[in-house]
């Protein structure tokens, strides 16, 4: 059973779920990290202006170091 409790003295709200006891602030940060993780996987990385856009699948390029400028 999930319950939301407030700590005395205004120390924040906590979520209680069995042995799990976590502050709402920490829970939100963990959720934000998960969102950022998937965003990093899904959002395309900008290509340098000099490089023409191609439809080549990732990792299918010639096996040399001539990749993208960094």
């Amino acid at each position: 059973m999930v319950s939301l409790v407030s700590a005395e003295g205004g120390a924040g709200a906590y979520l209680d779920w069995g042995v799990v006891h976590i502050s709402i602030a920490n829970l939100l940060i963990i959720l934000l990290m998960i969102v950022v993780f998937f965003a990093a996987l899904l959002i395309p990385f900008p290509k340098p202006p000099s490089e023409p856009a191609t439809d080549t699948p990732r990792g299918a390029e010639a096996p040399d170091r001539a990749g993208v400028d960094r």
């Binding site: 990290m33 950022v36 990093a40 290509k47 990732r58 299918a60 040399d64 993208v68």
Partner: protein, 203 residues
């Protein structure tokens, strides 16, 4: 011709540690063109801010960061750069874990990352202990019981503020910094790990 002096041997060792051109490369394999590859360097950037703000805090001292508005500001910069450091580091960890980043002879790179993560936790923990407020008193007394219960409380005393200050500003940051340097050297030596379905460039 073999090296005869220690300076020649050290120079040769340094030159052979990382392949020529790979220490600070201006090109990367195409698969590195993904946001998931930026979190390692973001972690390093946050670490630099932590070290710089930590040095400023150590110049000002406890009085300064508790009572001065500038001290509060630098203290907050130190705290939030640590928050970002762990935020970026954990996403870096997730990315490398799901990429099985220990492949291709990169086991030591993975292990040094794990050790850096653990040393960072210890460093952050000692930072909580030297806030010199009620929060640090509460955390240190709780930690003392926890550390004693697992049998390592005899080696250091988390209630000893002076010992924890030196752990936090000297011992542990040096450890994290050195491990991070080895980690980065290994990354540059072996190259960044490719996605599982990608072909790795020839060395």
């Amino acid at each position: 011709m073999s090296s005869t002096t220690w300076t020649e041997r050290v120079r040769a060792r340094i030159e052979h540690t990382v392949p020529p051109g790979e220490a600070l490369p201006d090109h990367q394999p195409a698969y590195v063109s993904s946001w998931i590859y930026v979190f390692g360097v973001l972690t390093l950037a946050a670490f630099v801010v932590i070290v710089v703000t930590g040095c400023v805090l150590s110049l000002g001292g406890v009085d300064w960061w508790h009572t001065s508005t500038t001290g509060h500001f630098v203290n907050s910069l130190h705290l939030w750069s640590v928050e970002l450091f762990f935020f970026f580091m954990v996403i870096h960890l997730w990315g490398k874990f799901w990429m099985a980043a220990w492949r291709g002879g990169r086991a030591l790179t993975w292990v040094t990352g794990v050790v850096a993560f653990l040393a960072s936790i210890a460093t952050a923990f000692t930072g909580y202990l030297i806030q010199t407020n009620f929060d640090s008193q509460w955390i240190s007394t709780q930690a003392k019981d926890g550390l004693n219960s697992v049998g390592i409380g005899a080696y250091f005393n988390v209630l000893n503020a002076a010992q924890m200050v030196l752990f936090h500003v000297v011992l542990l940051p040096i450890a994290v910094g050195l491990i991070a340097v080895v980690h980065v050297i290994l990354v540059r030596r072996n190259g960044v790990v490719p996605p599982i379905d990608a072909q790795e460039p020839a060395a």
